[in-house]
Symmetry: C2
Subunit: 314 residues, 2 copies
């Protein structure tokens, strides 16, 4: 039998190329309970870069009390610099939750940073320990100082399609929050379906509302979770709306395949399979990412939740 590949059939209404923003080492690992050693993290980032991923978010300068898995952020960035990766062609963004995190990132010599906010009051209070207005007050100096230092700044906006406490999240509320972050100076806004409840009509409606508000699709990225298997359908809807940057996590890292509470990042491999089938250029070597996810699954002691990894892994 042949090794399966999708039959390539272009859809001329879709973009010719897409940027996959790999978040596995940061967003994936921060949700994994097994502690991953520094050397493995450095090798993971190196492998992902080598597989052709155009952006690899490396870690987070969050306080170690909140995310013990990423307590070695400074050491990891130093190691990536020593390996020649930090000054390489592939940006390696780091998350900076506040000015203290930004100070650490600046000292480490990173070129791309990301801030993280919530579209809903409840999640802002629970995750950031701040109300909606306070979170902007915290983010504003981070974005301003990062831009002044010449860095690329991405803003994550979470709970854009539903909130586990508030339920439905109005589209207008998300557009207002997102445009405020862009007005603050963020270069890119990543809209997160943090609990994975969004479906295609909702994606189209949200992106239409952003367009009507004057936001170009090139300023947006979509961050889908596959908790309810909707991530790829949602990706196609977003591409139809002109979005060309999509977040994904190698092997679906960060989502436990057995737990009810699986956060379920979209797996990079599942996304690449879709885009390969559509003839949409990504520059990513699917087999290389599958190899990396299988290798990392060994360190995590469990199989990948990605269907493509499970189907293709040796």
């Amino acid at each position: 039998m042949r090794s399966p590949t999708p039959q390539v059939v272009r859809d001329p209404s879709l973009p010719e190329a897409v940027t996959i923003w790999e978040v596995g080492p940061r967003d994936g690992l921060q949700n994994e309970s097994v502690t991953v050693p520094l050397e493995v993290k450095a090798e993971l980032v190196g492998r992902l870069v080598a597989s052709g991923l155009p952006v690899v978010e490396a870690t987070s300068f969050v306080h170690p009390r909140w995310v013990p898995q990423l307590a070695d952020a400074a050491e990891l960035v130093a190691r990536l610099a020593a390996d020649g990766l930090l000054a390489g062609e592939t940006p390696l963004p780091v998350l900076v939750p506040n000015e203290r995190g930004l100070d650490r990132a600046l000292r480490a010599g990173v070129t791309h940073v990301a801030v993280f906010l919530s579209a809903t009051e409840t999640f802002a209070r629970r995750n950031l320990n701040r109300g909606l207005d306070e979170q902007y007050a915290m983010a504003d100096p981070v974005v301003t100082r990062a831009k002044a230092a010449g860095l690329h700044v991405r803003a994550y906006l979470s709970m854009c399609f539903g909130d586990p406490w508030e339920g439905d999240v109005p589209v207008d509320q998300v557009v207002t929050a997102g445009r405020r972050l862009l007005a603050m100076g963020a270069d890119q806004l990543s809209l997160g379906d943090t609990i994975g409840v969004g479906t295609v009509g909702h994606v189209s409606a949200l992106l239409r509302a952003f367009a009507e508000g004057g936001t170009a699709p090139g300023e947006l990225a979509m961050h889908f979770h596959d908790t309810y298997s909707q991530a790829l359908a949602n990706t196609v809807a977003a591409m139809h709306a002109g979005v060309t940057t999509f977040d994904a996590s190698a092997g679906g890292l960060g989502g436990c395949p057995y737990a009810h509470s699986a956060t379920g990042n979209l797996a990079t491999e599942d996304l690449v399979w879709l885009l390969d089938g559509l003839g949409v250029h990504t520059g990513v070597d699917l087999a290389a990412v599958v190899d990396t996810s299988s290798w990392l699954a060994g360190h995590l002691g469990r199989p990948s939740p990605s269907r493509v990894v499970r189907a293709l892994a040796d």
Copy 2:
């Protein structure tokens, strides 16, 4: 926290209602290695009917040598008749591989039958032990006699999006095969992505070719497998092309979540989540199907591969 549900956002370009053709008891179980007792099968069909599924394919009158799991087909149909389900409002089709199977189905008093053919020569020879022309010769009297007996006849066409031995399958070849089955008298043609390799551009191209050949989308059903996570994206593409009947298997029955070779029927629950989010009417009670899949997973001794089941099950 609230029990998660998708926020309902209609897409006016999509159909208002969709028929889910439940194939779990037949296509799902025939790929499960754990033998399921007759009483459990009967309860499964009853539960699926009670959950609002409009069609539940119950079993196959295939020779027990090929599918030992379904060796009790006649007993199961008799039991469903005794339970009052066979004459109920919900059709319970059975697969009939040949005239001998049709004879058994007619004796059992079923009202809906299905035949199964391949779009590719290699799979026809490997699965049916016949070449392409011979498979039509086998199907023709089955369809003709079933129609003469007043039955509804569905024709499955497998390997429509790729073949594990032949690789790519040309769209024209699928259209020619499918139209031949409709011309034979089949009421409905179910186009199967048996190995799950199809992506959305391919789905659109195939359905466009059927439309150009004169086939109305109402004559078609799509049978997607989620082996590479593409099934729901493909479903949306097919709805955009006017298709309103979709095959699915409760809990993703038939696809082992751990094996490389997972055949990966699209899970009914994942499909219902999508359609609920789009406000597309199905008549299906999602929670009831999730309960049924969880109950059956106990009999199979393993969790469901459906992401929705894993996220929602108690």
